[in-house]
């Protein structure tokens, strides 16, 4: 039997990025995936005869260029940044072109100038945070030279533009997106877009303290060197997972699908491999868990091998999803009122105002879904015609808010919520209802089941101030290392967080390789 230097649990894009980096570092790597195909949340499925969904994500907006280059990811299409169109139901659209609205159509020149100023400020501030993304978070009590240089660079970046910019950064860092938008903007639709983007996938409303962090996080992502850009690879989102698989396999990684891990072996603080659910023991000195940290430590590692305090903190990681994913099979391409035809291959955000987002959040606090939800929509089959039969079309929507713990239960809640979503879509695209061939709504509970994601949370844990950096997922496991020697975390639950960036996996692998050199 072949022996491996490292076992990676989970063939999501982070697991594959970690595996590829480790393999390029000379390690013999085995990736174990529970599902029958790799890709994790980017794994597609047929949701109606002839109609396929490309998975949870329907856009790429933060794939890290260094990661892609380093592991040899062959994805193209970056050159075409997709627009974002805001539709409020009035038939008058706002379209942000280029990278997060380098130019905007549909608003007054005055408002555009205000948006340009805000965009510049936010991108500058996000840039300061960005330098922390590509390295392990600093470990309190063991600050390294590299940490100091990052701090110094961040500090320099802060004062580079003068003291008042530095002060403004510290003032805004933990503000809410609503107050910041109000300071700069007057157009409700634009404010609604910022509110939506800041809170998508996070259990916060725009008026919740620190909600601006979500927008910063989005703006730490870039595409083709452009901050805030978004694209769909040539061949569609369904080509993302295969690209990561090719990169990993080219680097020499072995990937075994349909092989769920039952247990991570650990004895007196050290791992020695895994036991698959069918009872096969596979040993390796390094185990990289690229799945949810709670699954890792509450299900796979015997709790006796962790400290009580550590188990307590892992249990306390907040990881309840709040977004539902809708895939619609349509017999024709829908027509959204006011949507310019050249923008329909981009992102469409259905939001009237910041207040609508806030009011949509209110019921989520009490375990109810929004009766007037906000959502972002794409038409995936436009980029990848193989997703729908000829003449047909697929629609993908991320809808919030849809709390994981729905008081009434999702069994009865799901049809009711689907009805509300379809009615909302009907208002924006009259006639769409009659063209629906099939609808597949995935609530966070469905997402949890389909992708083995506790809480159905695609960030593997709330992306909020208390669960970032040195506290992601929890302080004792925040630097990819864990209290169990040889066991590392590499999923979105680790720093810097979710989205298709590849960074948690890649950072973890680099950390493992650099530790081995010491």
């Amino acid at each position: 039997m072949t022996s491996f230097d490292a076992i990676v649990i989970g063939a999501g894009h982070n697991g594959l990025a970690a595996a590829a980096r480790l393999a390029k570092g000379g390690r013999k790597v085995l990736v174990l995936e529970a599902a029958h195909a790799p890709g994790g949340a980017t794994r597609g499925h047929e949701f109606a005869p002839g109609f396929r969904s490309a998975g949870l994500a329907h856009l790429v907006n933060r794939l890290d260029a260094d990661v892609a280059r380093d592991i040899g990811l062959d994805l193209s299409g970056e050159g075409t940044l997709l627009p974002t169109t805001v539709l409020d139901g009035s038939g008058k659209a706002i379209t942000l072109h280029g990278a997060y609205g380098e130019s905007i159509a549909g608003i007054s020149a005055e408002e555009e100038a205000a948006f340009v100023a805000l965009r510049k400020k936010l991108i500058f501030q996000a840039g300061i945070l960005k330098r922390f993304l590509r390295r392990p978070p600093p470990q309190i009590g063991a600050i390294s030279l590299g940490d100091l240089s990052t701090f110094a660079a961040a500090g320099f970046g802060l004062i580079r533009k003068g003291r008042s910019e530095g002060r403004d950064f510290l003032r805004m860092l933990l503000m809410n997106v609503a107050d910041v938008s109000d300071e700069y903007l007057s157009d409700d639709r634009l404010k609604g877009l910022l509110a939506f983007d800041a809170t998508l996938g996070i259990h916060l409303g725009p008026r919740s303290p620190t909600s601006l962090l979500g927008l910063y996080y989005r703006l730490t992502g870039e595409v083709a060197g452009k901050t805030g850009g978004q694209f769909v690879p040539s061949g569609g989102m369904a080509s993302v997972a295969p690209a990561f698989v090719r990169a990993a396999e080219k680097a020499g990684v072995t990937i075994r699908c349909g092989t769920p891990v039952g247990r991570i072996l650990a004895d007196r603080g050290r791992t020695s491999g895994v036991v698959t659910r069918d009872g096969t023991e596979i040993t390796a000195p390094i185990v990289v868990s690229a799945i949810h940290p709670q699954t890792t430590f509450l299900s796979l590692v015997d709790p006796a091998e962790s400290g009580t305090g550590f188990v307590r903190s892992v249990k306390n990681v907040r990881s309840y999803g709040n977004v539902a994913k809708l895939d619609l099979a349509l017999d024709r391409i829908p027509t959204f009122e006011g949507l310019p035809i050249e923008s329909r291959h981009g992102r469409i955000v259905l939001v009237r105002s910041m207040e609508q987002v806030e009011r949509a959040f209110n019921p989520a606090k009490y375990g109810e879904f929004s009766s007037d939800p906000v959502m972002e929509v794409t038409l995936p089959s436009l980029a990848d015609p193989s997703l729908a039969p000829a003449g047909g079309c697929t629609l993908s929507a991320l809808v919030q808010y849809a709390p994981y713990r729905l008081k009434a239960g999702w069994e009865t809640g799901k049809p009711a919520f689907l009805k509300i979503i379809l009615e909302t879509l009907e208002r924006h695209a009259p006639g769409i209802g009659t063209s629906v061939v099939a609808a597949n709504l995935m609530t966070p509970v469905d997402i949890e089941a389909e992708y083995n994601l506790p809480g159905g949370h695609w960030h593997h844990g709330e992306l909020q101030a208390d669960q970032l950096l040195i506290n992601r997922p929890t302080s004792a496991a925040s630097g990819y290392t864990t209290p169990i020697e040889g066991l590392y975390l590499a999923s979105a639950g680790a720093h810097p967080g979710g989205g298709i960036s590849g960074l948690p996996g890649w950072n973890a692998a680099r950390h493992i390789l650099s530790a081995a050199r010491l």
């Binding site: 004895d267 007196r268 709790p303 006796a304 400290g307 009580t308 305090g309 550590f310 209290p483």
Partner: protein, 410 residues
């Protein structure tokens, strides 16, 4: 007036009637109250407990010369049972519970993830899957959180189980005459159950005095009848009820430490530097690196390997006869080296003894030329004394009768 007509405020008040009794009374309170000549009570974990009942010095000599009865009911007690109880306790505590036989007791301690001691106590193995953990502080949230992933049932039984310590050279004679047949077979740290009033009393050969002695646990309802049974049988053996003052003297002689007296428990400390690892309070011998993982293991072994242990607990013998309680310890009369946490003139050892917490390298590398500065208040004036102190092994008093089996009668 019934519940329907009572106002919400009244109902709320009724549900909080515990505030009317800020000091609980133990199951033996009636007997203690009747025997108390000096009315000298103190607060033990929320219970009214005697500091002394008639004369601390005579109570001390009851422990060392005859038989002393001490109410340990306020001790916090947990019942831990279930198929994973052994595995659970092995992860929770420092010693190897797999080596603890049924009907045996061992002294142990437990730590948080950082290796800081949460408490020490005694673990009673009442059955293959049944344990009782006795300690000073309350730990239910910690014990329950530790149970994640284990099939184990954890219950606090402090209130429902009454406890008595019967200590001293005639303690066996008292039990024998009280009709506890075969109790002489108990070796130190053995447990056995004996019938009492249609119920059971659990007797272990354990104690906190370093003397021959036993601890008895019984259901609360049977507490007074047990007391009376011992009291009647004990008369010819000069049984005395005692308070904590006397017990404390004997525990210092025996070299035992007390949580939140000789060290600050990790959950109780307000200041970051007050926490202690086992090796810093003389409990290094409890740590078993070879057994399966346990809370604090990595931190403790790291601290040993990296030599980052900051403190050490030592026994001191001090010249003169003035107890050095809470005195500062100096090296070469000049450099502050630590603090005396407990000290007495030992009537049995005839020595002035103390337990002290020193800051390494004092006590580890520098063990000579230690001094304690004693402030003795004499009629509103401190007499300051710098007395030479010598590190000596604990226990300060070692009695052959503590371990002799079968036990002696006098």
């Amino acid at each position: 007036m019934n519940a329907m007509t009572k106002s919400a405020a009244e109902l709320r008040r009724a549900a909080r009637d515990h505030i009317l009794a800020p000091r609980l009374e133990t199951p033996f309170h009636d007997r203690l109250m009747a025997l108390s000549e000096v009315n000298d009570w103190y607060n033990w974990a929320g219970y009214k407990a005697p500091h002394s009942l008639f004369d601390s010095e005579l109570e001390y000599f009851a422990i060392r010369s005859t038989a002393a009865l001490f109410d340990i009911s306020p001790m916090v007690k947990y019942r831990i049972a279930g198929p994973d109880a052994e595995r659970y306790l092995n992860r929770l505590t420092l010693r190897d519970v797999m080596k603890l036989g049924v009907n045996r007791v061992h002294y142990t301690a437990w730590c948080d993830d950082h290796g800081h001691v949460l408490d020490d106590g005694t673990l009673f193995r009442l059955g293959a899957q049944e344990f009782r953990l006795c300690c000073q502080e309350r730990h239910l949230p910690w014990l329950l959180d530790s149970a994640f992933g284990f099939t184990v049932d954890i219950r606090e039984e402090t209130e429902e189980i009454a406890g008595l310590a019967l200590q001293g050279p005639t303690s066996y004679a008292v039990l024998r005459d009280a009709g506890f047949a075969d109790v002489e077979k108990l070796k130190p740290f053995d447990i056995a159950a004996f019938p009492h009033e249609g119920s059971d009393v659990t007797i272990s050969r354990t104690g906190f005095t370093g003397d021959l002695g036993y601890e008895l646990f019984v259901q609360r309802a049977k507490a007074l009848s047990l007391w009376d049974r011992l009291w009647a049988a004990g008369q010819p053996h000069a049984i005395r009820a005692i308070g904590y003052g006397a017990l404390n003297q004997t525990r210092i002689e025996a070299g035992f430490i007390v949580a939140n007296a000789d060290f600050v428990t990790a959950e109780g400390s307000l200041r970051a530097l007050r926490v202690r690892m086992p090796d810093e309070i003389g409990l290094d011998w409890l740590v078993d690196p070879d057994k399966p993982n346990f809370n604090g293991r990595r931190a403790i072994l790291d601290a040993r390997r990296n030599q980052t242990l900051k403190h050490i607990l030592v026994g001191l013998e001090i010249e003169g006869n003035i107890p050095a309680e809470h005195a500062i310890v100096y090296h070469r009369k000049k450099h502050e080296a630590g603090l005396v946490t407990a000290a007495i003139w030992s009537p049995t050892a005839k020595r002035n003894i103390a337990i002290a917490s020193l800051e390494r390298p004092y006590g580890s590398k520098f063990t000579d030329d230690l001094w304690v500065e004693i402030y003795a208040m004499r009629e509103l004036k401190y007499q300051k004394m710098m007395k030479r102190a010598k590190i000596v092994p604990r226990p300060f008093v070692k009695l052959a009768r503590r371990t002799a089996t079968p036990p002696g009668l006098t």
